[in-house]
């Protein structure tokens, strides 16, 4: 969680310094969901992220340098600066892609799960998505298919109360956008505190156990909150300040630190961990900054298995 927080804060700083261009969607405040699930996964499990996927990518063990490098469009980036913030992918770490079209990755995740089921590999697929996704067709199509085919896939809705700028409750027929829909697919409604990493972890373990035993998919709604706006362009001013304050008091990291102290872990040890993480973020930043820009040629290649778009252009 600390690494996620450090990375996201740094991503924000790099934006402000104009070293990351375009846009980015930060998961500040939502670290417990990614960390809880990521820790419960097996190394060969599959993760599918949204455009708010830095945290979910990092928790699979992807080096920070490769993520920050990708954000800055550098040659050291995960995809050599061709995918960017919204498309982080690392096959060797099980991160099977980040998808910028809301809901698009849910059917794709179902397909990956079918592949694992067919090949009998015991791999479980996790698809993370936001509350806004629950109102798009692909969400429902994928859930239905996953249940019908009993696919080893876990659908994780991070309900941070706002789709982009509009409160999800304003535009949704039910109170809990994912959990209240579970019954429609014969699934148990699972609604959890997404800011409590222990709760998330236990929920994840149970869902993975179910999927690995051949008992099919789960749909989990984790309630959480975005500390910032939707994207780089959004200061998030549409949110009442009392609401923001109430959720800041539920910061997953502050609260977890307090829990650890209560369990007897001394402040010095925790402080050292925090300092180590900060040093790692700094080092990754500097390494990524030194990496060259990718060559122009990469824009035209990898369109097809045998090359680029020369035959067209």
């Amino acid at each position: 969680m600390l690494e996620c927080r450090g990375l996201e804060k740094r991503a924000y700083d790099l934006f402000m310094q104009n070293l990351v261009k375009g846009t980015s969607h930060l998961g500040l405040g939502q670290e417990a969901v990614a960390a809880g699930f990521g820790t419960a996964m097996r190394p060969d499990d599959y993760t599918f992220c949204t455009y708010r996927g830095h945290n979910h990518t990092l928790v699979r063990g992807v080096p920070m340098t490769a993520i920050l490098g990708e954000l800055m469009g550098r040659a050291c980036g995960l995809l050599r600066g061709k995918g960017g913030s919204m498309h982080l992918t690392s096959i060797q770490h099980g991160v099977m892609g980040s998808y910028a079209i809301v809901g698009a990755h849910l059917p794709i995740a179902a397909g990956a799960a079918l592949s694992a089921q067919y090949r009998k590999t015991q791999q479980v697929t996790t698809a993370f998505f936001g509350d806004g996704t629950t109102n798009i067709g692909a969400f429902h199509e994928a859930l239905n298919l996953a249940v019908v085919w009993k696919l080893p896939v876990v659908f994780v809705c991070e309900n941070n109360l706002y789709m982009e700028y509009t409160p999800i409750e304003q535009v949704t027929a039910v109170k809990n956008p994912a959990a209240d829909r579970a019954a429609a697919y014969g699934l148990k409604p699972i609604l959890i505190d997404g800011n409590d990493v222990d709760v998330v972890y236990e929920t994840a373990l149970a869902a993975y156990e179910k999927a690995r035993s051949g008992d099919g998919p789960s749909l989990i709604e984790a309630q959480t909150y975005r500390h910032g706006g939707h994207s780089r362009a959004d200061p998030g001013k549409y949110r009442p300040s009392e609401e923001v304050e109430a959720w800041l008091a539920r910061d997953p990291i502050t609260n977890y630190r307090a829990r650890l102290e209560k369990l007897g872990i001394d402040g010095e040890t925790l402080g050292r961990i925090e300092a180590d993480v900060q040093a790692a973020v700094d080092l990754a930043t500097e390494t990524a900054k030194e990496s060259p820009k990718p060559p122009l040629e990469i824009a035209g290649i990898d369109v097809w298995a045998d090359g680029g778009a020369e035959w067209r252009n």
Binding site: I91, I108, Y118, N144, W149, D302, W304, A309, W311
Partner: protein
Amino acid sequence: MSVTLVQAVTMALARAMEQDDRVLLLGQDIGVNGGVFRATDGLFKKFGDRRVLDTPISESAIIGSSIGMAAQGLRPVAEIQFMGFLYAGLDQLLSHAGRLRSRTRGRLSCPMVIRTPFGGGIRAPEHHADSLESILAHSPGIRVVIPSSPSRAYGLLLSAIQDPDPVVFMEPIRLYRGSKEPVNDDGGGLPLDTCFVLREGRDVTLVTWGNCVIEVSEAADQLEEEGISAEIIDVASISRLDMDTIFGSVERTGRCVIVHEAALTAGFGAEIAARLADEGLLSLRAPVKRVGGFDTAYPLYRLENHYLPTTHRILEACRAVLDFE
């Protein structure tokens, strides 16, 4: 064995599934019922429910799950029941299947096939008769292949299934059972990046694909009776387009008529005409003519013979280029 085009499709699917257990079929009504056009007839019985999957009516999920399977080691062949139903799955196809390789610097790929019947002439309205090849050809990373005979359906489909990139395999509805020809079930594929010259000729080049080979052949027969020799090129592979064969032919004939049943404006004929203007202008002895559907939604059956390129309209275009001074 002499088979129809749709039977050749079934043969190719069976052959691909025998050769490679990563090949799975999925789609609406394709399993137990063998598909609305019977293209998967008997395959459920032969290969079982693990390899022939009946899906809900969920085009986004059919194509999306195919992407997930393909990127994770399988070779899915999905059926979209009619091409007009593809609109509901276009996001998956255009935003993801075609871009996965580029977006991930080649780390993920999408070796999948979407089979879909296309085109009119069977008295089915609108979405049941659409031809969307130009929308697909406009999008990077997707191959678009259209057979026009049983043997080409067999060979091209086998190659499409083996291809490492996503392929939309458009099956011409009017040709499904139009004629039979012997097809040798030898597992042999055909190249996905070449046109087929169906008839050699000297005076005019007729470029077409899919269902329209019927009317184009009739027009060529008619011209022959008048002593005019027409060359017929079946483009077959819309993307990638083999312009070399077309340039070569037009160099000899100096005249070109392009025929397709999709709406004329921004139809794929426009691309071919533009390329001829760009790189083949000096070979041309007359302007390139296009014959296509009208810029309307596909009409109901009483009007469809008016909408589709008729032999008469093709002949008119041919005469215009032949008479051009």
